[in-house]
């Protein structure tokens, strides 16, 4: 391994340069948005803002946090993410533990029922009509209940539970603990990494989801921030955000005067992104446990 030929060095050198360029491309649009959100709007409009703010200010964020419509949107997003992640992970993990037990009667039939849904489904319109008939239109629970069980996550959990040492569960059985007790007292505490990873993926999906609200929710007060952001960014009305502001935000904007619609939307985008971006690097080492390599093919 210590001896490198000329062509090997050339190859490795090329790889280093390529990876640095790729990492730069991955990061730059995000970084540039942060910089724009921290720069005075009027100044940004002159152009040339790239790596560093020219005229630093918190004003854009102050206006965003004065706007009650956006605050409401953040609240909806935070609520659905917290409630949706906890319930879905718990529900799916219990389901997966049951499915991982060899003594479960009907296990193969249950598995078939699950696997079919991975390849075939009713599609958008029949689901839409079902949600309507269930009375979930304009209800917070449309974010939670339909995504309570995830078949993919169940399979990942199940694979993980099966690899746990059997002895632990048998000793629990001798102590007279039932399946539920074993799950909560022994299996769940041992499943930290896989729970953390799947919880992160589920939370990200909830946090970033905007389509469900755009078709099932008409009540403005129940729109998550991503759906509001989409209206702001792509409504084809350049000043949508400004025209829908409440009095407090307008007062703040008149006070600072340098805010433009672009600087404001960029700041909103960053508030809607930063929480997730701050969390994922810390869970990165667990990610492999959350991907399907081993689970798909058993």
């Amino acid at each position: 391994m210590t001896h490198y030929s000329f062509s090997d060095r050339f190859l490795v050198g090329f790889i280093y340069i390529f990876l640095i360029l790729l990492a730069f491309t991955s990061f730059y649009p995000f970084w540039n948005s942060i910089v724009v959100s921290l720069n005075e709007g009027m100044d940004t409009a002159k152009g040339g803002i790239t790596f560093w703010p020219r005229s630093f200010t918190w004003d854009n964020y102050k206006v965003v946090f004065e706007d009650s419509r956006l605050i409401q949107g953040f609240m909806v997003t935070i609520s659905r993410t917290v409630v949706g992640t906890i319930t879905s992970i718990l529900f799916t993990a219990i389901f997966a533990y049951g499915m991982s037990r060899r003594e479960l009667m009907g296990r193969n039939f249950y598995m078939l029922v699950c696997v079919i849904t991975m390849y075939f489904g009713g599609g958008l319109i029949p689901t839409y009509l079902l949600i309507r008939d269930l009375g979930l239109f304009n209800s917070f629970w449309v974010f939670i209940i339909p995504s309570l069980v995830s078949v993919w996550n169940m399979i990942i959990f199940r694979t993980f539970f099966r690899e746990l040492p059997q002895g632990l569960e048998e000793s629990a059985k001798i102590d007279g603990t039932g399946h539920w007790g074993t799950f909560f007292r022994i299996v769940l505490p041992l499943s930290g990494p896989v729970v953390a990873t799947l919880a992160l993926f589920t939370a990200v999906a909830h946090w970033n989801e905007w389509f469900i609200a755009s078709i099932y929710i008409m009540n403005e007060k129940l729109l998550p921030i991503q759906t509001i952001l989409r209206q702001i960014l792509f409504s084809n009305i350049a000043t949508e955000q400004m025209s829908n502001m409440d009095a407090g935000a307008i007062a703040r904007m008149n006070e600072v005067k340098t805010v433009t619609s672009k600087s404001l939307t960029t700041a909103t985008m960053m508030v809607a992104t930063l929480p997730i971006i701050c969390i994922y690097p810390f869970l990165q080492r667990f990610f492999v446990k959350g991907v399907l390599v081993g689970s798909l093919k058993e």
């Binding site: 490795v12 991955s26 079902l130």
Partner: protein, 322 residues
Amino acid sequence: MANASADVNAARAASRDVPKKNALQRFIRQLDLQMMVLPALALIFVFSYIPMYGLLIAFQDYKMGADLVGNNWVGLKHFKYFINAPEFNTVVRNTLIISSLKLLFTFPAPILLALMLNEIRKMFFKRIIQTLTYLPHFLSWVVIGGMVTSMLAVDNGSINMFLEKLNFIDKPINFMSLPEYFWGILVTTNVWKEIGFSSIIYLAAIAGIDPHLYEAASMDGASRFKQIYMITIPCMMPVIIIFGILAIGNLLNAGFEDILIFASNPALRSVSDSLDVYVVRVGIDNYRYSYATAIGLTKAVLSVTLLTIANLIARRSGNSLW
């Protein structure tokens, strides 16, 4: 999935051992275990299987309020209507082109990245590259849409500024509203978003390769490039094939979140309308439920067929999904 037949055999063996009349008793005895799975199965029944039953409206003229049995049966009317619709050619062409382009670029890109990352011996450097390339995966399509619009903007967009500085163009190009750039922007953004995160799977596959293979190869004087070509890639093949099958099964899913975001401009419809996007527009926006369901059903059946064919071909190499 692969051991399903083994499970079935085991279940058969078990049912031979225990007389049938005990089945109910056994079920009651393991009621606490059954209660762990039955609520979830009930939810799957409601949210996955009832919509499958709802597919019947594709063969009816759906009326608000009427139940599924009470509607008028019209046979294949809506399917025929779709085939003869003026949008048919555009929608099918766009779906096939967009998904083929995505398959062509987003499928191999993370494999190449994993191969490159594997050549990096400095763990700290590797870690930073990974963290940064994972970042776009965690952004929502809405936010990415906002960023890309801002990068490609005519006034002061970074890309136009950069191209002007290098004298590639005389005046800024309005990338976001010209149809000829749409597919390029869509595919590039997809590769950019998922290349890092998708490489995790392939890195895990590489990590499972026996290091002795490399030692033996380097003793035989194989260069790094030759080792990648002769050891790493062949050892990754099972994983590559499985994800290849899944990608082919997804061929008709040209994706719709990204298209809905990037093509909010109606001027782009001639290149952006895919099957899924078309279903959203005629079904949700124009209330043509039966017609939209017929299109969705056609797509779902074709997808399952494609997946089965891809799996049959892969089975010959011994790496099939089921």
